[in-house]
């Protein structure tokens, strides 16, 4: 009897944990998909007809066992990269990914040089 109770609690705990994880993953995907018919809103924030339909499709894809990346690829294939807030790295947007780092390193070097020069003078 004690064992059965322990097993039941174990099952309930892990089922709710897995459901919570799934819901968190879903929300993360909704937040990263742009509502194409809204002004600056994600699928998660919008109540538009389009957003509601995309939510249903994402739910179905999760149920089918598709990963987050596979869902983004599916959406990007149908609506272009614009639908994803966090753009995927590709030939067209590689500068978008690497330029901030290049500017950071370049800026750092300039500041380093200026500080060193100032110290040399004093």
């Amino acid at each position: 009897m004690k064992n059965n109770l322990f097993f039941l609690i174990f099952v309930i705990f892990f089922t709710s944990l897995s459901a919570q994880e799934k819901s968190m993953e879903k929300n993360k995907i909704f937040k990263n998909l742009r509502c194409l018919v809204c002004q600056g809103q994600s699928i998660s924030d919008s109540n538009s007809d389009f957003a509601q339909t995309v939510k249903l499709v994402v739910n179905d894809l999760i149920e089918e066992g598709k990963t987050e990346e596979e869902i983004y690829s599916f959406m990007a294939e149908k609506y272009g990269d614009w639908i994803i807030y966090k753009p995927q790295l590709n030939r067209q947007n590689f500068m978008l990914w690497f330029l901030p780092y290049a500017f950071l390193i370049g800026g750092g070097l300039i500041i380093f040089y200026l500080i060193r020069k100032k110290r040399e003078k004093t």
Partner: protein, 173 residues
């Protein structure tokens, strides 16, 4: 070294100005015309009149197919209907109508009032199937060739210009 820093800053400044200049001149209105040239996936959609499902693969039997997404509650769909009725007369084009998030009774009334231009009539009650076609609002139309490659995608109601374009694409002009 100071000269180098100055030139780097100047280059960055020119670069930023260029980005702004190019971006401001760009048309940012979103559409899904990037689907043009891509092959349509195999999608199953329910028939309007019965429980049977039609696979998009079956459109291979037609020389050209125009898939039109419409609903009785959509005003622009009413506006484009005469163009669809004209396209019905075309010999090498089959019109496939996908009734989108609509009530069957209203859809039937709509076709009875304005005429039925569709050779194949399907329905997408939840709107989920339409996501596979890259649809985000109706009316939208997709022109396919025999290989099921998307030749043209029309976002919004079809107008006279689109009608001419379709006839040109299917070689009837």
């Amino acid at each position: 070294m100071q000269k180098l820093i100055k030139s780097i800053i100047t280059i960055i400044f020119i670069f930023i100005i260029m980005i702004f200049y190019i971006s401001l001149g760009k048309d940012n209105s979103y559409d899904t015309v990037n689907l043009v040239g891509k092959k349509l996936d195999s999608i199953e959609i329910q028939s309007f009149n019965n429980e049977k499902f039609v696979n998009t693969k079956s459109f291979k039997d037609n020389s050209f197919t125009l898939i039109n997404f419409w609903a009785s509650w959509c005003g622009p769909c009413r506006a484009e209907h005469p163009i669809l009725m004209n396209l019905k007369e075309s010999k090498s084009l089959i019109l496939v109508g996908v009734n989108f998030k609509d009530k069957k009774k209203n859809a039937k009334n709509f076709l009875e009032d304005l005429g039925n231009p569709y050779g194949i009539l399907l329905k997408d009650e939840s709107g989920k199937k339409s996501i596979n076609f890259g649809i985000y609002g109706i009316p939208e139309s997709i022109l396919l060739n025999k290989e099921l490659v998307i030749i043209e995608k029309f976002v919004g109601p079809l107008v006279e210009e689109d009608y001419e374009k379709i006839l040109e694409e299917i070689g009837e002009k």
